[in-house]
């Protein structure tokens, strides 16, 4: 049973990764590991910043 739960969790995490839904968690990990120079952005700030940076750094989507 626990292996099924673990499998499902793994799958959800995989899909979340592909969608980029875990970007904030990864940012926090990096912030934690890199000997932070200031407080980390809050979740709201992070997503705002992420979207706003895409405004000037568009990513292509293929045909």
């Amino acid at each position: 049973m626990s292996s099924i739960v673990r499998g499902l969790r793994g799958f959800t995490a995989f899909v979340k990764g592909i969608m980029g839904a875990d970007a904030f968690e990864r940012y926090l990990e990096h912030h934690e590991a890199s000997g932070h120079s200031g407080p980390a952005m809050t979740e709201r700030e992070f997503w705002r910043d992420r979207m706003d940076r895409q405004d000037s750094n568009p990513q292509g989507r293929c045909c």
């Binding site: 592909i18 969608m19 875990d22 568009p58 990513q59 292509g60 989507r61 293929c62």
Partner: protein, 758 residues
């Protein structure tokens, strides 16, 4: 930054951190494991080869009444496995020589935002979602005019030897350069002339590709109230999702994607209800020109709106749908296993005047199927975004080469879906109105007059199919998307729901294709706008400021105007838009591939890998011959159906002779439109081929120079020692597992942070 490439990267600075386990499996251990053939390993690969051989035999050589679709799946998957295990490994070992002791940009430039080490399996999915869109769903369908076999061979063999090679090489070289874009690499490697030509070619090619993708959507939605309603609803749904993510629950991407998906399904079901009412049918029944203008206006607004409001949420929705649709299609084909009645080579395989696209099998089949076999556009994705996320150098084989194999598989599934429908219906749907006459009676009469073996359709068949999929008509629904939708509905209804669900599946297919394409249109316009701003910025520096509104708006308007003009030209073309323009799309995409491969060849030569240069040179030569031949035929062919200028001259002469109707153009205005369109298409062909030839020659010169000097100056980033470890492929090897265990036993504080998923 650069150093002579023939010397191994300065190993002194690559010293390993003594407090950490090794950042890579020992080369000798890895080599020994790779070269050791246990009986079990031999048995597995013998079984794969045997199954692949049987499948190819069934698909290519057995001439029964029908062939089961499952053989296409086996032929494809077995060939991919062999190509991946043996050919990509060969490229890795002899040409690219990745070094896992060397840090990737995601490690040495880590910023937690753009440069983030990402789990290889997640990145595989992420990269795949970025490269796969509507392209592999459209080209194979149009190419099915020639029969199934030419397309099948090109998709499967082409990807192994060309498409996946291009993606892999570009990704690897860009990774070694800190994630630089194709354009930047071209400028560095080929000099000012080659680099500028590559930049202009890329910009023009993006305009053409966006225009023709938009044309596919217009053709799918024209005179389809249901389609217009449900696709139109994606805009408010995306806006809602954008607001939700920005203000209500920031960062809850999965949650909002699921809400968006439910709303999307509601929009499809609701579209059926709306289209069946009198007001709905009247209000959403739009002609193609109106829809084209709608997309142009939409494209401009979408490109100047902030990303969070429209583009980002639609991208989430599109990715979500992409994963779901592809899994669904694969499961359905494996479960239903449709019988294919289409011949391996159709009556049009040996001719150059097919109704769906004109031109002979060589070279036009190889440009009609671009995405899925070899797609130059991927070079733009494989450089830039993905290389900034790669954790270890060896993973590029899995992500770059493997990701493209996956797209090829999507193309094979699209081909299977298209050829599982009746051939008579296929031609009635894909021939221009000028030939079918636009009504079920005239279309059936025209199809039957083609003299295709085993084809005998009645007007009632066509009317029944239209009713089943909930459309007023399916005659001359060109562009590939509606055919795929009918094929998918045909397969899915045998899987879930029966005939009564066909209309839902049809509109579900139209919806996801439109979603992919509109996302590509938005993103393409934005990327092209930045490229234009950057280029103008070299002369007027103010333009380089991304936040300077007038500059951004002006460049957006120029880009939208350019693709919009080509789109309108396609929509109003008396000769039937798609069949004259689609070759231009393929040629553009393949020329971009030629440019990417040319840059890769120059880089490989500068690294001193002359013995294995053929790995790049063979696909480059093939794609160069195909696209240059196709372009020259489009420019110089005396056959009006093939040559743009021959057609131009024929219509111009008819006008000069005072005729008021010529060929399929029934009025003087239509004739004038043909003269105008063929001139534009012809001139574009000339510009494309000229620019690409310049780039290829620049690359050949750079290669020859490197050959003379036994190598050259490379532009790789300085090597830095890696302080992390991760396995290279989907399944970790024994040695990788052992090393991973060593890393896992490190005290948490000593470990460098790990990617999100393990």
């Amino acid at each position: 930054m650069g150093r002579p490439a023939d010397e191994q990267p300065a190993l002194a600075v690559m010293e390993r951190d003594p407090t950490l386990p090794a950042p890579a499996v020992d080369d000798a251990v890895r080599e020994a494991a790779e070269r050791k053939w246990t009986p079990a390993k031999v048995a597995v690969w013998a079984a794969i080869s045997l199954l692949g051989a049987v499948a190819w035999f069934m698909v290519a050589l057995v001439r029964g009444e029908t062939v089961n679709a499952i053989w296409f799946v086996f032929a494809a998957v077995c060939t991919y496995l062999i190509g991946y295990r043996f050919y990509s490994k060969f490229i890795e070992r002899y040409l690219l020589k990745p070094n896992d002791r060397r840090a990737t940009p995601a490690e040495y430039k880590a910023d937690g935002k753009d440069y983030v080490r990402t789990d290889r399996n997640v990145l595989f999915g992420h990269h795949f979602a970025a490269i796969a869109g509507a392209g592999p769903l459209v080209g194979p369908i149009i190419a099915a005019q020639m029969g199934y076999l030419p397309g099948t061979i090109w998709i499967i063999i082409g990807v192994v030897l060309a498409g996946a090679v291009q993606d892999y090489l570009v990704m690897f070289f860009s990774m070694r350069r800190g994630g630089r874009s194709l354009g930047q690499m071209a400028r560095e490697e080929l000099g000012a002339i080659g680099g500028t030509a590559a930049l202009i070619a890329t910009l023009l090619i993006m305009i053409i590709i966006v225009a023709i993708l938009a044309l596919v959507v217009v053709n799918a939605l024209g005179e389809s109230p249901w389609g217009v309603f449900s696709v139109g609803m994606t805009i408010p749904i995306a806006l809602f999702m954008g607001v939700y993510l920005r203000f209500i629950r920031p960062g809850k991407v999965m949650e909002v994607s699921i809400i968006g998906f439910v709303l999307l399904m509601a929009a499809i079901v609701g579209g059926g209800a709306v289209a069946s009412t009198e007001w709905g049918a009247a209000f959403f029944h739009l002609d193609k020109v109106t829809i084209a203008w709608g997309i142009i206006v939409y494209g401009f607004i979408a490109a100047i709106l902030p990303v969070w409001l429209l583009l980002a949420p639609r991208d989430y929705l599109s990715t979500f749908m992409k994963i779901g649709v592809i899994v669904m299609l694969a499961v359905a084909i494996i479960v239903v296993r449709p019988e294919i009645t289409v011949p391996a080579f159709s009556e049009f395989a040996g001719k150059d005047n097919g109704p769906v696209f004109s031109g002979a099998l060589f070279p036009f089949l190889f440009v009609t199927i671009a995405c899925g076999a070899l797609s130059g556009f991927h070079a733009l994705i494989s450089s830039g975004t993905t290389p900034k996320l790669i954790e270890k150098e060896r993973q590029t084989r899995f992500i770059g080469y493997g990701g493209m194999l996956m797209e090829s598989f999507v193309a094979i599934m699209a081909l299977v879906a298209a050829i599982s429908i009746d051939r008579g219906i296929y031609f009635a749907m894909n021939a221009p109105v000028a030939l079918t006459g636009g009504t079920v009676e005239t279309a059936a009469a025209w199809v039957n007059s083609l003299g295709l073996s085993g084809v005998n359709i009645t007007p009632a068949d066509l009317a029944q199919t239209a009713t089943n999929v909930g459309e007023p008509s399916i005659v001359s629904r060109t562009g590939g998307a509606p055919t795929l939708a009918v094929g998918l509905a045909h397969i899915m209804q045998q899987f879930i729901g029966g005939t009564s669900m066909m209309a839902f599946w049809y509109h579900f297919a139209i919806m996801f294709e439109a979603l992919f394409i509109l996302t590509a249109v938005d993103a393409g316009t934005r990327v092209a706008r930045f490229m234009l701003q950057d280029s103008i910025g070299n002369f007027i520096p103010k333009f380089k400021e991304a936040s300077w509104r007038p500059g951004a708006w002006l460049c957006t308007a120029v880009m939208v105007g350019a693709w919009g003009a080509v789109l309108l030209m396609g929509v109003t073309d008396p000769l039937g838009g798609i069949n004259t323009l689609f070759p231009l799309f393929g040629i553009a995409n393949q020329l971009l591939a030629a440019i990417a491969l040319a840059v890769c060849m120059a880089i490989a030569a500068k690294r001193g890998s002359f013995k294995y240069l053929w790995i790049v040179a063979v696909p480059l030569a093939f794609v160069a011959v195909v696209t240059v031949t196709a372009s020259l035929q489009k420019i110089f062919s005396p056959v009006p159906a093939v040559g743009y200028f021959a057609n131009n001259a024929a219509f111009a002469k008819a006008l000069a002779d005072g005729k008021s109707s010529f060929g399929t153009a029934k009025t003087v205005e239509a004739m004038e439109a043909v003269v105008r369109n063929t001139m534009v298409q012809g001139v574009l062909s000339v510009i494309f081929v000229t620019l690409s030839v310049i780039v290829i020659i620049a690359a050949l010169i750079a290669t020859a120079k490197a050959f003379k000097q036994g190598g050259g100056h490379d532009h790789e980033d300085e090597p830095r020692p890696s302080r992390v470890f991760a396995p290279a492929g989907l399944f970790p090897t024994k040695a990788e597992k052992e090393l991973q265990a060593e890393w896992n036993s490190l005290p948490a504080g000593q470990r460098t942070e790990r990617p999100a998923h393990h």
